[in-house]
Amino acid sequence: MNWNELLKRQPAAVRVLQGGLQKERLPHAYIFEGEAGVPKEAAARLLGQAFLCEERTTVHPCGECSDCRRVLSGSHPDLLTIEPEGASIKKGQVEMLQKEFTYKGMESAKKVYLIHEAHRMTASAGNSLLKFLEEPEGETLAILLTENLHFLLDTIVSRAQVVTFAPLPEDERAEELKEQGYTNGQAALLARIADRATVEAQEEPGAWIVQAKTVVVQLTEEVQKRPQQVLLTLQEKWLPHFQDRKEQQIGLDLLLYWYRDVLYTKLKRLSLAYPDEVERLHEEALHTSEEKVSRQLEAILDAKRQLAANVNSQLLMERLLLRLQEGF
């Protein structure tokens, strides 16, 4: 990965970073913010390379010297990385970092620290970090990566320059997934699921998503045509497939995209999540009103909220399916 490749994907963020490098005026701390899947880490490594590379004359690190190569492989002694230990980044980890930073650099006077998932810092870890985020000694560069800027302490955010990475357009992401070997239908759905990590953790993500899609399509068909079947399908197919809460959230997402596609079809918009179900979508679009679809979407969003609040999943789904049938 180099700046030019990254520039195509994240023009705004990359221009900010290149500007800093060009003028040799990097701030002492950056926060890279952006959803999972955007190339935050690649940008951070590239910035680290540019900062430590001794051969660099322009904004581009040479990528070949031993500094550059070791930044990529993670064994550069003057680049420290912190990742959450278990669920959070603990105070002890930040203290270790602090201790490390009381020393001069190992090879040069420059030091970089990279904090992954900075939003998972505990409050006390955040406060310890603040201390030396504020008074860096020598040439120090801090890069905090986060998916959720608002979970960081305000006092940290105000002491760093925030660089926002734009979320990838869905179609672009679908293209990328297709290159990884997913079929057109799988890629279109997977690109739209926020929590891709859960899907990718399945034994066979491709097969899992195909089966999930079949369940969703069957369920919506029954909601529309065979209401008496709905609860049976829920028991037999939906509940066994979407097992824990994370998977259930994905199930609800898929349901949400179905009704959005129905709406899109009515409005003759392209970019569908179910591109290979066009006929079914047309048929359902003919039999429903925009108003009804919007109420159905609302019902699903309500369900998603309730699921996050630990409502019993079976009761939740039964209520949702009743609301979908009635359309209010």
Binding site: S66, R69, R70, S73, G74, S75, H76, P77, L80, E95, Q98, K99, F101, T102, Y103, K104, G105, M106, E107, S108, A109, E137, G138
Partner: protein, 379 residues
């Protein structure tokens, strides 16, 4: 890479560099020993990023031939296993060969170990020593200087720069200073150097110096000390000891030492050590180590210590001389005792400048050492 080496020499080298390696290093490659063979000899490096030790084994010296290098090259091998393996090998020589993917074969006698190595390119580079900031000092003197100052460094991380010993050189005189802000130890010595060399604010971590003094012996031979931008190097015959320096500004200590004296006491070091040890038996229990000292007559001082729960102790010591105002002062006895233990003179002098001002303990034989203490306020 392929070479055959004398086992004893190799084991010794490996054990030396292994001292620097910490099994809990955050950088994976630092859990290994870097082995580098070129036409001059074999270089071994171990590091935990704070300190690094490099050991060199020449192809041969006057006595015998240690090494045959068939093919130069380098590799990093896991220290945890490698050290034990070479120690337990049966033959007089060891042959090490590295093939593709850093797969190493270690042969000795009828034993063959196949070890997976790491990429030597990943290993941190040690600083280049082109700078001319260097000086020479006898090994035993450096060892003494470390012992006489390093005990006074701060053990708390609140002011990290105080966990190190400050090295300064001016006009051929080197000074070590250590302080934890309650006490200060200073030791200076003449060194062999360019008269123009002037160094200041070189703060070497106390931990590194302790480790360094473990590998030094009381030999008379000179070792070379080289200071670079980020590290300091102690160069022995075949061993190089690198330590990272602490970042930050060391406090200016010169003007802390009082120039005037109000009360001047000279006494036998041993008398004071024993009296303090007795007095501390009680105050140690109170966890504050407070000792009170009072002048009591012409050549007598009175040492007392009180512990509310246990009781009190009083002792009079005869001193060689006592000049100046009468005095009553309290201080941390443990700190004084630590300093007295490293003073290499039988008679010491103490200069007080009042009950609330710092006081100085010096050996009487020479003026190259100084210990400064702040008193404790007890009322």
């Amino acid at each position: 890479m392929k070479f055959t080496i004398d086992r004893e020499e190799f084991v010794q080298g490996v054990q030396h560099v292994n001292r620097a390696i910490s099994p809990r290093s955050t950088i994976n490659v630092l859990t290994g020993i870097k082995i580098e063979a070129d036409t001059d000899g074999l270089t071994l490096i171990g590091s935990d990023s704070d300190i690094s030790i490099q050991s060199f084994i020449p192809v041969a010296d006057e006595e015998k031939e240690y090494l045959q290098i068939e093919q130069p090259g380098s590799v990093v091998l896991q220290a945890k296993y490698f050290v034990d393996i070479v120690k337990k090998l049966p033959g007089d020589t060891i042959e090490i060969e590295v093939q593709e993917q850093f797969a190493a074969t270690v042969r000795s006698g009828a034993v063959v170990f196949n070890l997976n190595g790491l990429d030597p390119e990943e290993y941190p580079r040690l600083p280049k020593l082109e700078e001319d900031q260097s000086f020479k000092i006898p090994q035993h003197l450096l060892k003494d200087m470390i012992r006489q100052t390093v005990f006074a460094v701060s053990s708390q991380e609140t002011r990290p720069v105080l966990t190190g010993v400050n090295l300064e050189i001016e006009e051929g005189k080197m000074t070590f200073t250590a302080t934890d802000s309650h006490r200060l130890a200073m030791r200076s010595a003449e060194v062999e150097t360019d008269a123009s060399l002037s160094l200041s604010n070189i703060v070497i971590p106390g931990k590194s110096l302790t480790e360094l003094s473990r590998i030094m012996d009381d030999a008379e031979d000179l070792i070379e000390v080289v200071v670079t931008e980020t590290q300091v190097l102690f160069k022995f015959d075949r061993l190089m000891f690198f330590s990272r320096l602490l970042d930050g500004k060391y406090p200016v200590t010169k003007n802390m030492v009082p120039t005037q004296t109000k009360t001047d006491v000279t006494l036998e070091r041993n008398d004071l050590v024993q009296a303090l040890e007795r007095a501390l038996l009680l105050s140690r229990e109170a966890k504050n180590n407070v000792i009170n000292v009072k002048t009591a007559g012409d050549a007598l001082i009175e040492i007392t210590s009180v512990s509310a729960e246990i009781g009190k102790v009083q002792e009079n010591i005869e001193v060689a001389s006592l000049n100046g105002e009468d005095l009553r002062i309290s201080f941390n006895g443990k700190n004084i005792l630590d300093a007295l233990k490293v003073i290499d003179s039988d008679v010491i002098s103490i200069q007080f400048t009042g009950a609330m001002s710092p006081f100085v303990v010096r050996p009487q034989d020479h003026d190259q050492m100084l210990h400064l203490f702040s008193p404790v306020r007890t009322y």
